[in-house]
């Protein structure tokens, strides 16, 4: 399944990769020989989006959305770091860890959503006081 990523296609692939992903890592070319993965930069970019969303968004719900995007990025990194097995099946330990992580992230999100709803009920606000000076959204 991953034959295209190793062997003869590797050189052309690296060139294509450097062309496409130049914005992520300018002069960084060290990771190519060990079978590079486009999912590492993708996961890092998702973490970046989530981090920005959690820091800059005012609305609590939007922060929770960003929290979930960030978690997805972490899961992607976790699986991309494990090599796929010979039969195309990913590392079962990593899969089990991600399954657990998805459920825990959901539990945290549900708790956050309920707290946000309660806060809205009590105060009529959808953002925390320290975020209120930023533009009101949601």
């Amino acid at each position: 399944m991953n034959g295209a990523e190793s062997g003869t296609g590797s050189a052309g692939l690296s060139a294509l990769w450097e062309l496409l992903a130049g914005q992520f890592d300018g002069g960084f070319g060290g990771g190519f020989e060990g079978g590079f993965s486009i999912w590492l930069p993708t996961g890092s970019a998702l973490v970046l989006f989530g981090l920005l969303g959690m820091l800059l968004a005012a609305s609590i719900l939007r922060k929770l959305l960003a929290f979930n995007v960030m978690g997805s990025g972490i899961f992607l990194l976790l699986l991309a770091l494990r090599p796929t097995g010979p039969d195309g099946v990913a590392d079962p330990v990593a899969q089990a860890l991600i399954l657990t992580g998805i459920v825990i992230a959901l539990a945290a999100t549900a708790l956050g959503v309920r707290l946000a709803r309660r806060y809205f009920e009590l105060t009529g606000q959808t953002e925390l006081p320290e975020d209120r000076d930023t533009a009101r959204d949601d």
């Binding site: 970046l48 989530g50 820091l55």
Partner: protein, 310 residues
Amino acid sequence: MIAADLLLALALLLLAAAALLARSVQIGSVLFIAFGLVLALVWVRLGAPDVALAEAAIGAGVAGALLLLAASEFESRRSGSASARAAGPRLPWPRPQRSRPRWVLGALALACAGLLLLAAQAIEPLAGAATEAVAHALPQAEIAHPVTAVLLSFRAYDTLLEIAVLLAAVVAVKAAPAPLQRPLPHDPVLARVTALTVPLALLVAVYLLWAGSSRSGGAFQAGAVLAGAVLLARFASLPLDPQSHLTRPPLLALGLAVFILIGLGAGALAGAALGYPAGWVKPLVLAIEAALMVSIAATLVALFGGGKAA
């Protein structure tokens, strides 16, 4: 293959950005659900169908629906009372004096993500050490599917604690009372579609549970499908609405209780806590998974909260 990968990665990033930058959180939640479904495709591409099932059902479906529900509630209540919007903060906390330096935060986040990428690139791949260890130990585990073997045999302690965390979350959610929901208007089309979908969903849930021992599937995916069926029936106002019974505390705690009891009882026979005596693995694991499925479905329904306005 590489073109499909690039397309998937691009779609993932675009959907994530669109979800975070959407005009309203409602739109953002819908885009987040789409993001989760694309991510499920990525998991399939990376050879992790179990994760894909869980992502589509739990990560995209339940989390997105929770956010969408809350955003819709905020929106409808705020448009209902436009005067409250202009009333200003009612809490006596002081307003911050100056606006936050956004670009500093942005640069810090960029630095964090860049460092993360560098660190991840620098990690030497483990060359499948864990995969080999699991494949080596699989015959003793008597469970054909490696992911299920990891979840319920090799690392059963993790799963036990995960269920405990889920129970703690649902207790906390139930402690903050949800506002009563207005009865939804009857929609004949939705009711008809739901009447066809719910039996199918029940069948799929039982199949996923049974399949979990030999191929992809398991208690979490089955529980999510079951909860989806119950919630769909509730939103369509079908007379079948067991959610008031489903979210009782005994059912919520059933999975953890059965897991602990079997873990101790069978563990005493096997000589190690959370172990299984030889020859009994599959029935015991199936019993645990069935209890987990019921509890997870009850938990997910309870997380949505807001029972019928009695």
